[in-house]
Symmetry: C2
Subunit: 122 residues, 2 copies
DNA sequence: CTATGAACACATTGTTCATAT
DNA sequence: ATATGAACAATGTGTTCATAG
């Protein structure tokens, strides 16, 4: 595949961007490790038949690190389990806000595209 | 990949279903061959940055034939060109209406899923 | 050139396996 | 068992090539 000069020809927003947006939200709310985020996402969107799997969650978090938006550190899990979990913080919050804005644009575009389809056909 | 027991775990509607819906609409309107359909779709959704390519159009039409929804026959193109084009008609219109209904459900689901994301995050 | 179709290549994402606690 | 991560595999779709007029 050549390159898409800049989102040209694209259909709907990608799952990856969708999840990354929620990961940023979870970090903003200061409570997060991967499995918790997945469980919350699953609970929130189960009503729409959407249940993201753990690999997509981790891929999204890793990509946010590569983007320079998040950074990770380890922490002992609460309770008597003495198990490390990976916690995320912002590495560059300005970048995070910019990314959110971009995803918002893509979400709105996708919604409007689908709404037009419904209007045109039904 | 195993099988998705029935649309479980899925994110948004697929481009293929989206295009098949419009192909059915074009056949209902009784004017269609592949390239025309593509041009109309491109014109309609260019405003959202979405421009489907010809392969997806043909794949969608072929799949509708495999589904038993459309059938094809050839026709001489209008004008002095004596070139054959492929025209589609319904093979089973009840199936077509059922499929439209299913896609409508998936469109609505997708819109609502995205709307919830916007509400939750912004 | 336009229209149709198939082949190929890459991108996305689901499933499975590995490792540590 | 739970949490994280990587490897593997299937699907979806964009690009290129082929063929016919």
């Amino acid at each position: 595949m050549k390159k898409m000069p800049r989102g040209e020809g694209k259909f709907l927003i990608k799952q990856r961007a969708f999840i990354k947006l929620f990961m940023i939200k979870f970090v903003e709310e200061n409570r997060l490790y991967g499995m918790q985020a997945m469980d919350e996402l699953k609970a929130a969107f189960k009503q729409f038949g959407y249940e993201p799997n753990h690999s997509e969650i981790y891929r999204s978090l890793h990509e946010l690190i590569d983007d320079g938006i998040l950074k990770r550190h380890k922490k002992l899990q609460e309770g008597a389990k003495y198990k490390e979990v990976v916690i995320y913080q912002f590495d560059d919050y300005e970048k995070a806000k910019l990314y959110k804005k971009q995803v918002k644009t893509d979400l709105d575009r996708s919604i409007n595209l689908l709404r037009k389809a419904v209007e045109d056909v039904f």
